[in-house]
Symmetry: C2
Subunit: 225 residues, 2 copies
């Protein structure tokens, strides 16, 4: 993320402008995808008379995407730290899966309706460059790093490629399931789960099953466990 | 799908027009989402001088979406019939999971690069009305209906709501994993799997694990197995 222009001092007005831009960007990205939305459109949607406001406050499109994701990534990591502190047995893989899922759904529950965070995250997943940058930012957060180590140790018996690809599947499924519920809440359509807490429970079971599934008959991927 | 207008006779030229419209619609839907693309834009992209060509040949937007999906749905179901015929033991749940995954990836492998089918299917998943209609069309196909019965019988021990929601998760994960590979092939970015066949093998294991995961600690969903 770029600093403010030389000579400017970040004040209340600047903070309000940045917040308006982040909120507008998140909603537009969630609804239309990253590639379809220009920084100029975001400036306009954020009520900025100056159409270069986004560039001034955030820099490039990728800088802005990272800032949009960091706005939630930081509080989610604080929440995740509290989940991780409750893990009693570090060899309990299911407990680490709970640390992956629970903070995401609990945070979304707190955002209220409508929210765009999960749908924006889905759009980030479809953009390889943004996805990798945002993943790097996330993995640099202390609680997620702790949880990832716990998961990796519990899954050390998996061939490394399978472990990595199942991790990506788990991330996809978590993000898409949350986005589907967020969209259903926002559009008042039928909800597959009664609550975010139920969603977390069922995701925890499903992801645990997905991650620990036996590895069978794969000529390219079968390595000694 | 609506019939051609009264008095017209489906001929070679009409068939070519319909094919051009279906191909253009699939690509535009895949790239921009269903809601962002008008029938007029599709008519233009299909090289039709008459901007009402889509309405004339297919009717409403939802009729067109169903026709786009049916174009692949029918050959995939023929392929799925051959997978289903190879199931030796109908109580072998993993064999039914293979019948779910294998035809999808094998068909995509046959489409070549670039294809848009999987990415279009992802966009359909995000539109609740289109998703339900397309699901009804799919479940009316004989081979998929057979496979769904096999899966349901093998998962009869799951509480009905959990079974239904895990089925939706499996559909999501299959569709998104295929779309991610399709996008990576089309944009020449890093591929998580070496081949469609490897993708199928790893998805089969992961979906089997997801579907058969133990059901734990769910106050609302815990029912007798």
């Amino acid at each position: 993320m770029t600093a403010a222009a030389p000579g400017s001092r970040p004040g209340t007005r600047s903070a309000a402008t940045r917040a308006a831009i982040l909120a507008a960007a998140e909603r537009l990205y969630a609804e239309h995808g990253l590639a379809a939305v220009s920084n100029r459109q975001i400036s306009e949607a954020a009520g900025q008379g100056n159409v270069t406001a986004v560039n001034y406050h955030f820099g490039t499109r990728l800088d802005l995407v990272r800032a949009v994701m960091a706005r939630h990534g930081e509080p989610v990591d604080l929440l995740r730290g509290r989940y991780a502190a409750r893990v009693e047995d570090p060899s309990d893989l299911r407990a680490w899966v709970r640390c992956l899922v629970g903070p995401a759904t609990e945070y979304l529950a707190g955002l209220g309706v409508p929210s765009w965070q999960a749908r924006c995250a889905v759009q980030v997943l479809t953009d390889p460059t943004a996805r990798n940058l945002v993943a790097e930012d996330s993995l640099a957060r202390p609680a997620l790093a702790t949880v990832m180590r716990g998961l990796e140790q519990g899954l050390a018996w998996l061939p490394p490629g399978v472990r990595r690809r199942r991790g990506a599947m788990a991330r996809n499924l978590l993000t898409h399931t949350c986005a589907e519920r967020e969209r259903a809440l926002a559009t008042d359509t039928a909800l597959p789960y009664e609550s975010w807490s139920d969603t977390a429970d069922e995701l925890e079971d499903a992801l645990y099953g997905l991650l620990t599934a036996p590895v069978t008959h794969h000529p390219h991927t079968r390595e000694a466990p």
